[in-house]
Symmetry: C2
Subunit: 386 residues, 2 copies
C-alpha cells in the first residue's frame, strides 16, 4: 500500500500521578508517579478532531511508525499501516501510540524505580489490568488536549484496549477498530500464558523477580516467547515458511541439535526477545491479558457491557487466527449489534494466523482507510451527529 514513511521520529514521555495524586488501579492499589512513553505522527488539526490512538500488543511499544534518529533501530511495528497515504494516513490524521503501563519500553513498569526503595519495583509493582493501561492512556490524551478521539485501533491485546476505551469512555471514542482480538481470553489462551510464566518463574535466574543488575532469566523468557510465537503463526504458515526443511545440514543429525529450520527460527525469536524485553513485564502483561473479560462490566453479560458504546465499529479478524479465532471476534460484533451499535465485522482470508494483523497490510488498509474517511468526513467535529 502507501509507500510513505513518517520519517524520523522520537519517543516522548509524559509523567503524572505524582503522590499524593497517584493513579488508582483496578485492584485498588495506587501507583505514582507514572510515566508514559509515546510517539505521535502527523498533525493535530485546529478542531482537535483528527486524533487516532494506536494500541499495541503484548510485546509492542510506542514506536509504531518511522525510524528513530539514532539509526540502527528497526522501523515502527506498524510502519506498513501508519504513514502518508497508508491505512492510518498521517496526511489526514494525528496518530498517537503509547507504551502500555506495566511495560518495559519507557512506560512505568516492574523494571522502573520504586520511589519507596530507590531500586526497581520488581514484584512490588502493583498488578495492572487492561483497564489500568487505558486509564493511563486517558491521562495522556487529556494532557495532549484531545477531548474526543476520531478512532482507537489495535490488534490482539491492542484490540482489548480498544474495547476498553469504547466502553469506559464512550463519549471520547467516535470509531473503534479492534483487530484479531477477543472480549475475554479463552482457557486455551490462559493456558499458553501460564506455561510461559512458569517457564520464567522456574528459571533460577529469575530469583523471585529480583534479577535486576544481574543476569536476567533469559532461558525462561526465551521459552515463553517461543511458545508465544507458535501461537502467532498458523499451521499452514509454518508449513509454507519452514515445512520439514533442515537447518544448515543435508541429513538428519541423529543428535540433539537443531535439525529443522523451524527450530532455529524459534530459538532465534526466543533469544532475540530477551535482548529487548523484561521478564517481569512479560509476567505482568500476560496476567493483564488473562484477567481481561469485558462482560464483567455487564455483570457477566457482554451485551450489557457493550450497551453504552457510542462509537462505530470496524472489527477485523483473520481466517487462520487460532489464538483469537474469528468466532471470538464475532461474539463482540453480535453483542454490539444487540445494543444498536453500528458494526462492520470482517473475516479476512489469510494464512498468516494471528500475526496477520501485522502482515496483511493491503487487505486491512482497504477496509480501514475507507472506514476512517467515512467517520472523519461524515461527522462534524464535536460529535454533531449525536
Amino acid at each position: 500500500m502507501g509507500t510513505g514513511s513518517v520519517g524520523t521520529v522520537r519517543t516522548e514521555y509524559y509523567s503524572f500521578a505524582e503522590p499524593p495524586g497517584e493513579l488508582v488501579l483496578e485492584s485498588g492499589e495506587r501507583l505514582g508517579p507514572v510515566t508514559i512513553a509515546y510517539e505521535t505522527y502527523g498533525s493535530l488539526d485546529a478542531a482537535r478532531g483528527n486524533a487516532v490512538l494506536i494500541l499495541h500488543a503484548l510485546s509492542g511499544d510506542a514506536h509504531a511508525a518511522g525510524l528513530h534518529a539514532d539509526g540502527g533501530a528497526r522501523p515502527g511495528w506498524w510502519d506498513n499501516m501508519i504513514g502518508p497515504g497508508k491505512a492510518f494516513d498521517t496526511d489526514r490524521y494525528f496518530v498517537i501510540c503509547s507504551n502500555v503501563l506495566g511495560g518495559c519500553m519507557g512506560s512505568t513498569g516492574p523494571s522502573s524505580v520504586n520511589p519507596a526503595t530507590g531500586g526497581p519495583y520488581a514484584l512490588d509493582f502493583p498488578f495492572i489490568t487492561i483497564a489500568d493501561m487505558v486509564r493511563a492512556q486517558k491521562a495522556l490524551i487529556d494532557h495532549l488536549g484531545i477531548r474526543e478521539l476520531l478512532a482507537v485501533a489495535g490488534g490482539s491485546m491492542g484490540g482489548m484496549q480498544v474495547l476498553e476505551w469504547a466502553t469506559a469512555y464512550p463519549e471520547m471514542v467516535r470509531a473503534a477498530i479492534p483487530i484479531a482480538t477477543t472480549s475475554h481470553l479463552s482457557a486455551q489462551g490462559i493456558a499458553f500464558n501460564e506455561v510461559g510464566r512458569r517457564a520464567i518463574m522456574s528459571d533460577p535466574a529469575w530469583k523471585g523477580g529480583n534479577y535486576y543488575g544481574g543476569e536476567p532469566p533469559r532461558n525462561g523468557l526465551a521459552l515463553a516467547r517461543m511458545i508465544g510465537h507458535i501461537t502467532y503463526l498458523s499451521d499452514e504458515a509454518m508449513h509454507r515458511k519452514f515445512g520439514r526443511r533442515l537447518h544448515d545440514r543435508k541429513e538428519l543429525s541423529y543428535e540433539f541439535l537443531t535439525d529443522f529450520q523451524v527450530e532455529s527460527y524459534l530459538h532465534h525469536q526466543g533469544d532475540a526477545f530477551t535482548q529487548r524485553f523484561d521478564a517481569n513485564a512479560y509476567l505482568y502483561i500476560t496476567k493483564a491479558i488473562d484477567y481481561f473479560d469485558l462482560s464483567e462490566k455487564g455483570g457477566g453479560s457482554l451485551v450489557r457491557a457493550c450497551a453504552g458504546v457510542r462509537a462505530s465499529f470496524l472489527i477485523i479478524s483473520f481466517s487462520s487466527d487460532w489464538l483469537y479465532p474469528p468466532y471470538q471476534n464475532k461474539e463482540i460484533a453480535d453483542a454490539l449489534r444487540v445494543g444498536g451499535a453500528e458494526v462492520s465485522f470482517v473475516v479476512l482470508d489469510s494464512s498468516y494466523g494471528h500475526d496477520a494483523f501485522l502482515l496483511e497490510a493491503e487487505q486491512q488498509t482497504r477496509l480501514i482507510s475507507h472506514f476512517l474517511r467515512h467517520v472523519h468526513e461524515d461527522h462534524a467535529p464535536g460529535g454533531a451527529h449525536r
Copy 2:
C-alpha cells in the same frame, strides 16, 4: 461400551540382541542387549491368527488394559477399548502391547544400564526412530511365535508405528488401524516438541542428561508436559472443561497465583508426569516423532512409500484434533488408495481434540469391532485371500 475388564495383568519382559548380535538402528548405531516390556490379554488361538498389536503414544506404556496385581495402580491407558466385548475384544483376540524402545516403562531406554559403563546410558543412548521401535516390536512378535498379525492399531505416535509396521513388514500385517496420526510431523508439531525439549535441557537439574541418582529436571519436564497437554485438548474442550472458572477462590487474586482452574489443571498434569516419566526418554521419543516421515521410504513420495502395503486400513481422525488434524490423516488415506489399498477413512465428530483417541470409546468401538470382525472372519488363517 463393553464393561468387561481383562482383570489382573502383569508386565512381562523379553530380552534379546545380546552382543555381538545387537539391534542395528536406523542411524547405523548398534544397541544391545535390548529388553522390551509387554503385556498380553486374551488367548492366542491354535492357528496363531488372532493377534492384535497395540502401539502406544508418547507417554504411554505396555500397560494398556486391566489392573496390576500390586493394586493402587491405575487401569491400562486404553482400558475402555481393550477387554471382553470391547473394541479389541479379548474374547476373540490375543492383544499385545509393548513399551517402546527408548522409553522408560520397562523397555530399554536412556535410563537403562549401559553395559559399557555399568551406569545409566543418559545421552550415550543411541538415537532411536519410529522404525527402530517397530524393529524391536518385530523381535518380540517373532519371539511370541506369531507370523502374521491380525491387526496393528494405535493413536498419535502409536499410529506412526502402525504405518511403519504396514510398510516395513507388509506380509505380517492383515489390518492396520492408525488413529489421530500423520505420515510426517508438521512444522508446528516439531516446534511444540522443540520447546518442550528446550525446557528440559535448560533446566539446570538436567545436567547434560546426567541427573540419575540425583534430582531430575522436574521443572523442565513439567513445562514440556504442560505444553503437550494444551496441544492434546481442543479450544472447545478447554472451554467446556474450565472456561474462565477460578480455582479455589471467588475473586481474581491480583497476585502471581493460580487464578484459573485451567492453570491448576496444567500444573497438576505437569507435576504428576514428573513422578512417572524420565526426562531423557522424553527427549529421545519426541525426536523420534520429529524424525518420522513415511514418504522418505518412497524417495519423498508418500504414494510410493505406501505402494507395497497389503493390509486393509481403517484410518480414524477427529474433527477437533489440531495436533494431527483430519487433513493429515486423509493424506495417508489418499496415498494408500492410489496404490490400490483397501481403506476406510473416517472423521469422527468430537470436541475432545487430539485426546479423543483415548476418550471417544463408543464411536471408535463401533468402527473397530466391526472392522476387526470383518478382517478376522473373511480371511482364513495364513492369508488365503492373497
